[in-house]
Subunit: 165 residues, 2 copies
């Protein structure tokens, strides 16, 4: 496995035409060596999550077909689903015009400790469970998911909440 | 208009419960004062673009219902469509669990200099017009859009290409 992952090569960025209209994968990692990654449910095209990946997380995701992301707070790669069982099984991957953002299209797995297939640590299917409303100069949030898919206290028992103030 | 935009307030981030399960908009801008933004076509749910917004671009987008983004290379706010006519008319907005990423759901406008409604400066509808394929240790790209929606040389004549090597 390790050898296979090491074998995956990202190409050099040689010209704008090559980057935008070529067939070579030449991703541009940002100044923190990260690439933004949008996760979408393959069945519904619903956006589930936004995160970052580094080179190794990208290679592991390509090779294992299980999404690996990079946690900026823990400064380490994490395999999505390792704790919860809610793996992101990658079905398709896309890259944008200037190759500085990717999409992972995934099939969701059910949490191992009960509940429906979901993605968000708060208990909802998608992390984007709130709509921004704007009326008379005031912005507020409205829930679009009415019910949680699983109980996060059960599924993530003893695990620190990744959300930071 | 300026007064209305100034009136929009983002709330303080006071607790994790409030951030994750509350009704107040309290976005977390990153160390560069930017918020990642995913743009989706409202009709098809297709992801069109990934970009960043700053506080003022976010407020302008909320108030005018036309997407304003922040260009990191030009270090300034841009109204999408200003040059091309391909405005992103915002229909819905979403925010994620920890409020550090937003989605703009938009209706696309046609380029003023001919062609179909599209979003990407290369000429395709979406910026994500290439799929990543992986076979025998080799990653490569395959086009998912066969034909450009407009001629970028006509629509963006004299405008520098935003893609950087």
């Amino acid at each position: 496995m390790k050898n296979k992952i090491n074998k995956i090569q990202f190409n050099k960025r040689t010209s704008i035409v090559e980057i935008e209209e070529g067939y070579n994968l030449c991703p541009k990692f940002n100044k923190d060596n990260l690439l933004p990654c949008i996760t979408v449910e393959t069945k519904t095209k619903e956006i589930l999550m936004f995160s970052y990946i580094n080179k190794l997380a990208f290679k592991k995701s390509i090779e294992t077909k299980k999404a690996h992301y990079f946690s900026r707070s823990r400064e380490s790669i994490w395999l999505k689903g390792e704790t919860s069982g809610m793996f992101h099984n990658i079905k398709k991957m896309f890259i944008d015009d200037d190759q500085d953002c990717v999409i992972f299209e995934v099939k969701l797995a059910k949490p191992t400790k009960g509940g429906k297939a979901a993605s968000c640590h708060v208990g909802y299917k998608s992390c984007f469970y709130r709509k921004i409303e704007y009326k008379e100069g005031q912005a507020s949030l409205k829930f679009t998911e009415k019910k949680k898919s699983f109980n996060p206290e059960k599924v993530y028992k003893g695990i620190p909440n990744p959300t930071k103030i």
